[in-house]
Each structure stands twice: as C-alpha cells, then as structure tokens.
C-alpha cells in the first residue's frame, strides 16, 4: 500500500501573495530549509477561512505544506510566529517590507536553502515592525548589502577589485566586483568616501545599528549594489525606495 506522504513542517515568510481562481491564493514563500517555495492556499480569501489573515505578505509562520503532483505545494496548516501588526499601519514600512521581500525573491529564486537569508529577512521585518520609522534608504541598502554577502557576491571594499591597491579608492566597478583605485576607475563610476564608508559600516554592523549617510552617498551605494547584482547574479534589483 502506498502511504500518503507526510506534510512538510517548516518556518516560512510570505514574500508575495497572488489571487488565484475563485477564493485561493498562490503564495511565494521563503523558508530556511527549502529556500523559495511556491504554494497554493485554498479558500483563503473567504472570510471564514481557517487561515484568516495569516497568509498575507510579511507574515512569519510555522507552516505545514503538502507536496502534491504539481509544482505548487499546498498549505495545510499555518501558525503565526510574527504578524508584524505595527508595520502594517505605516505606509513607509509597508513599502520597505515589500521591497525587501522582492529583493529576496529576485536574488534567491531557487529551492536551494539559505537559512541566513531567511533569518536576515525575519530580522528586517521585525525591525520595521518595532520601529516603522526606520524604513528608509539607508536601512533598505544595508539590508541589500547583507543579501549580497549571503548570495556570495559581496562587493570588495578593502582594496581595488582590479589591481589590489589599498590606496586612492575613488570608484566602484560592478564588473570588477568592488571599489577601484584612480588608475582603474575607467571601468567604473565615482564612489565618494561617504558612500564607501556607508557600505563598509553597513556590512560590519547589525541591521538595527546600520549607519546613515548623505542622500548623494546613498544613491552611489545603491548604484554599486545594483551593478554588483547585475554583473554577478544576473539579477535586476528594483529601486530600494519608491520614486
């Protein structure tokens, strides 16, 4: 007799939720054990659904998933670990959370597990919930820099990524994978000292203690992050802030 496969138990964060059919939703989940997972939640849009609002984006959950014949798993159980209610009352924090989840979805789109990415996202959502005022350019970029580290494509910041020179680091080259010196700057764009310091400090501190920087420096840091992701992961990240 062929047994019914046991449901998979895992934690997960809802990255995205799409309406499907009459009352279902297709969820993009990020899990520590299974990486990115697609799942269907049946009947979840009905007011009497046993899932209630638990399967909305940004919920951190204990999940029971059933693997069927198709590509999508089916959600058969969900318990809240963190619902982030304060984040949901702040337009800036909501937007920052959506962009953080989008960055994770783009950089980590396979089922390869990256538990550190899961916990980084859980920390970011927890931070935005505790302090919605944190939502801003600096926080969003610090989060993205840490994602690049988790993806194994952290930009080189300690010396010229082209020639190794530790002095006169005045530019950034996505192709070279880091800061570049005056002699090698032709391959990149100008990166001022504030932007360089912001990137290095962000990588050296926890998210909750991420530094701030002048807007001009933040724009340069964002360009460096976007070019790094494009050159080394072939991923186009969306802007860290709404236009």
């Amino acid at each position: 007799m062929v047994g019914v496969p046991a449901p998979l138990k895992t934690q997960g964060i809802v990255l995205r939720s799409l309406r499907y059919a009459e009352a279902d939703r297709i969820l993009h989940l990020y899990t520590p054990d299974l990486g990115r997972v697609g799942a269907i939640a049946k009947g979840v849009r009905k007011p009497r659904s046993r899932f209630g609002g638990r399967l909305e984006p940004f919920f951190h959950l204990h999940l029971l998933l059933h693997r069927g014949r198709g590509e999508l798993m089916t959600v058969t159980g969900a318990e809240t670990v963190a619902g982030h209610p304060a984040l949901r009352q702040d337009a800036g924090a909501l937007d920052a959370a959506a962009r953080a989840c989008d960055a994770v979805a783009r950089l980590f789109e396979t089922s390869e597990p990256h538990p550190q990415v899961f916990w980084l996202l859980a920390n970011e959502l927890g931070l935005l919930d505790r302090e919605p005022g944190r939502a801003g350019h600096a926080n969003a970029l610090a989060f993205r820099l840490k994602l690049l580290v988790a993806a194994g494509i952290a930009p080189q910041l300690s010396g010229c990524a082209s020639c190794g020179d530790a002095e006169h680091l005045i530019g950034f080259s996505g192709a070279a994978g880091g800061v570049v010196c005056a002699a090698c700057e032709a391959s990149g764009f100008a990166l001022e000292r504030d932007a360089h310091a912001f990137m290095a400090d962000s990588l050296g501190r926890p998210l909750a203690e991420a530094p701030d920087a002048p807007e001009r420096a933040l724009r340069q840091a964002e360009r460096a992050i976007i070019e790094t992701a494009e050159h080394h992961a072939h991923v186009r990240l969306r802007p860290a802030l709404a236009a």
Binding site: R48, G52, R54, E56, P57, R88, A91, L94
Partner: protein, 201 residues
Amino acid sequence: MYPQPVERLVTELGRLPGIGSRTAQRLAFHILRASDEEAAALADSIREVKDRVGECERCFNLADRPLCPICEDPRRDDSVICVVEEPSDVLPMERTHEYRGRYHVLGGALSPIDGVDVDDLHIAELYARIAEAQSSVSEVVLATNPTTTGEATALHLAAALRERSPDVAVTRLASGLPVGADLEYADEVTLGKAFAGRRAL
C-alpha cells in the same frame, strides 16, 4: 480529438478563471447539447457586454451609459463616497443595505513593486471629485480590501486626503471577526484589530 470548433470552444472556456480543462470540456458539451436559442443567447450576451459596458464617467463603476445607475440615482447621499478597489466590490456593499452614499472605484490597489502606482489608478479623479466647487462631500469611506496592498492604498489615500481636504472625514471599514466564526481560529492580526476596534454595548 474533437472537431476544430469544439476544440476552440474548450480552449476559450478554459481561459476563464477557475475553469480547468475538464470543466471546460463539460461546459463545451453542455453548450453543444443546448438549443440553438440558448447558445445564441449566451453568445449574444457576451458580445453585448463587451460592446456596451464600460466605465462610469464619474465613479468608474460598470455602466452601459455615461453614468452608472448609482451615480444617476438622485436619492443617493452625495455627502459620502465609499472608495473600493474593483467594480465587483460594489455589489457586496449594496447587499448590506447599510450604505446609501456614492462610490468611487479605483481600478486596483497600490503595489509599486508590481508596477501599480498612483497614476495607474483613478486616484486623481477621486481628489478632483472631492475638490469640485459644488462638492458636498463630508466623508470618504476607505473600503479597499483588508490585504497588504489594500491597507497600503488606504494609508496612502488617508494621508493625501488629510492634506488636500482637511475638512473631509476619512474613515476605514472596521476589521474583525466574521459573524459566526470561532475565536480560536482567528489569526492574531485580525483578532488584534477586532480588539482595538471594540465598542461599548
């Protein structure tokens, strides 16, 4: 396997939301067995709805004339506008028989990450309706869905309306427990909102 017109009908029916290939096949055979008049009535109704139904010029609800029946009704209360995401949200509101004001259909919810921005929705038209010289609007009820994008849209509209029209009250539909549901199945965010919005009896 089937004649080409039947295959085409199955394919077209299968494009409808919630209709899989088996259901599409069943519907196609139902139509084949139906009388010529019944099948023609179905085809005509689809053609008519596409030819004649558009958006209301004022509220963007469905309309087969310049204005929808609700905007044309002189008995409706002009002082309240209920803002919903889609035309399909109007009917459940009407079924409550609790609301006698006007509507404004946004055409979706804000989701910059999916490319849905302020300019993609009928938000400027809402501001214009409220700012009209002869406007008597005193309340805007934000009835976007209690989803993440619906809440984000409500927060955006509330902030913008407070700035543009400080004399207009902005309210949000209450969130809470569905009537007849058990507390033990309620999720924490919904229950928290129900608790925050409790009222004296």
